[in-house]
Assembly symmetry: C2
Homo-oligomer: 354 residues x 2
């Protein structure tokens, strides 16, 4: 059967001050729609996998996941006792799925992405499931690039597998802008959207081959699960697993990796500068979430809580975010600097703002 | 006897969002010290006039004045039934003083100025009182200019009256920057700080001569006061007085006007760009009120409520103010644009932010 696992363990800082340690990005809407990114993602996947929907998340975020997805049974929330990166999280998810369904096909989908064209997404995901059912391969969904983006990793296309499916020749890191333009012009690259579809058993056998230490721990947990002691053993074993991403640990080394190109207005909502990709601007090019007044100000990104006012004059290409007890101001092309600011607050023990 | 009248009727918008319709600038500290500008002003004047201290304010601000100055008797607060500008407010104050002391000498002092050198201020004010006692003249305190400021009016010095007192040849409007530089270089100009010292009777007789309609109303109020019906008649008559500033109505036309030059680190706290004049900057030139974190940011003015964080990166020469339910962002050389923003909020009926 087809199952979806939503990865909701993230606690990124790039959308501070809206996202906080206690309220990561996936629990926010960030102007993408009426419900949180996590809830949107779950609704989207439920239309493909019905109730075979799981969320893997940090133990201390289980309650927030339940709040965001009140119809999701607690038994479908896979809690990581501590954060051990995506390879361990997806390995643990595969163990859980196989315990219930030895033939499980598993789609691992990030919780914090915006997708504009839901129908196209469902078409691509269904094709990816069908491909993963018949092929001994990990299938990834590649996003057709629409601009020379330097903030994403890319998939280099290899040989055609069939009319709609290609092999991935290479996973490539975030390029500089010149390289990104070449990738875009060539037509031979897709964005890596971090969505993987595979037989759960194949994922585990590849982890066994490529990450034996991780596999040993997962096998211990799987065996304990059969004896009804899964949680207890997981709490002990999981925190000792190596912290390695699924990209580095498996995807860049496994073969074949197949990919299906999707063109569904995908956005990773990865920073404040992403807002104009999915929110309309006013006639001066200002993208506004909340209430703002502008005077002789253009091409700004202005975000505030619903009952707050953001008033700006004489500025262009700036980001201004008011959220809770904090205000952030920086140029649009410097949004990555939010990390330095968050680090400075950590260093200053200003925990009330993190 | 020497009396001081603090003018506290202002409701300016130039320091929005810290100053609001319900909380004008004089009730704020704005980083000038531990107490509000009004309280500082009262403390400063009490050291010269003891308890002969009055506050003239809008009727709807009486409660706030009492809160700011708990030791001030209610009978010393002169309430304007409606705002009729400074000529009417000072005329009404003169009427009140003369009712208590026919020989009253009156210093009219704005409530919303910062003074760094209190001792020098007291010296100048005492000399101004002494001059007003012996001369049939209105005495004004002129501020020795320290920069080619375009935001203030100037006094052009005339003939020497004695070693420390000069006549004012002319009141001049806010100059452009070239003219301001000439004024500064010439040594013949002082800033008009809006502080006037005169016999109360002389002020009234000059109002009688130069503003007969205003005088008629004031006389009606004075007569009613003798009969114990002052408040009642004031409530009826005062709102009908012409709305004219004391500068335009009296000072620019009366003669002689004498002035005493003061050099006491005066600042009118007239806009956000004034902060660096009385607050030290950090090593990057950022002037901070509240809690701020900066990264690669210089020469900014950053203001926030005590429990809030203002975090900025990659910006220079900007003003960022968080106060209550609003955030303001504009360049330092565009601080006057706050008026346009406030007007836009008025037009949009966004009263909760005003």
């Amino acid at each position: 059967m087809r199952h979806a696992v939503i990865l909701a363990g993230g606690g990124g800082t790039r959308l501070w001050p809206a996202s906080r340690r206690a309220l990561p990005k996936q629990f926010l809407t960030l102007g993408t729609g009426p419900v949180s990114l996590l809830t949107s993602t779950a609704n989207r996947l439920a239309s493909v996998c019905e109730d075979r929907l799981y969320v893997v998340t940090a133990a201390d975020q289980v309650e927030q996941v339940q709040h965001a997805l009140p119809e999701l049974s607690r038994s479908k929330i896979i809690a990581e006792p501590s954060a051990r990166n995506t390879a361990a999280a997806l390995g643990l998810s595969a163990v859980h799925l196989l315990h219930r369904d030895p033939d499980a096909i598993m789609a691992a989908i990030p919780s914090d992405q915006h997708i504009g064209d839901e129908e196209e997404f469902r078409r691509v995901l269904s094709l990816a499931f069908a491909t993963a059912e018949t092929e001994d391969a990990i299938v990834t969904v590649g996003i057709v690039p629409t601009r020379p983006e330097t903030g994403y990793g890319y998939l280099k296309l290899g040989a055609k597998h069939n009319e709609q499916v290609s092999e991935v020749a290479e996973f490539v890191e975030k390029p500089d802008s010149e390289t990104a333009q070449k990738y875009l012009d060539s037509g031979e690259y897709l964005w890596n959207g971090g969505m993987f579809i595979t037989k759960a058993a194949r994922l585990l056998s590849e982890i066994e081959r490529l990450m034996p230490e991780t596999y040993k721990g997962l096998k211990t947990i799987a065996d304990a699960m059969s004896e009804g002691r899964g949680d207890e053993v997981c709490a002990r074993v999981y925190p000792e697993l190596p912290s390695i991403s699924i990209d580095y640990g498996v995807m860049e080394k496994t073969s074949p990796v197949l990919t299906i190109a999707g063109d569904f207005q995908w956005n990773d909502v990865g920073s404040w500068s992403a807002l104009p990709d999915y929110r309309d601007a006013d006639s001066d090019g200002n993208v506004i979430l909340g209430t703002a007044i502008t005077h002789d100000a253009s091409n700004n990104i202005l975000v505030g809580d619903p009952d707050k006012m953001v008033a700006v004059a004489g500025i262009s290409n700036m980001v201004v975010v008011q959220s809770g007890n904090a205000v952030l101001v920086l140029p649009r092309d410097r949004v990555q600097d939010v990390r330095a600011l968050v680090q400075a607050m950590r260093d200053g023990k200003l925990d009330q703002f993190l």
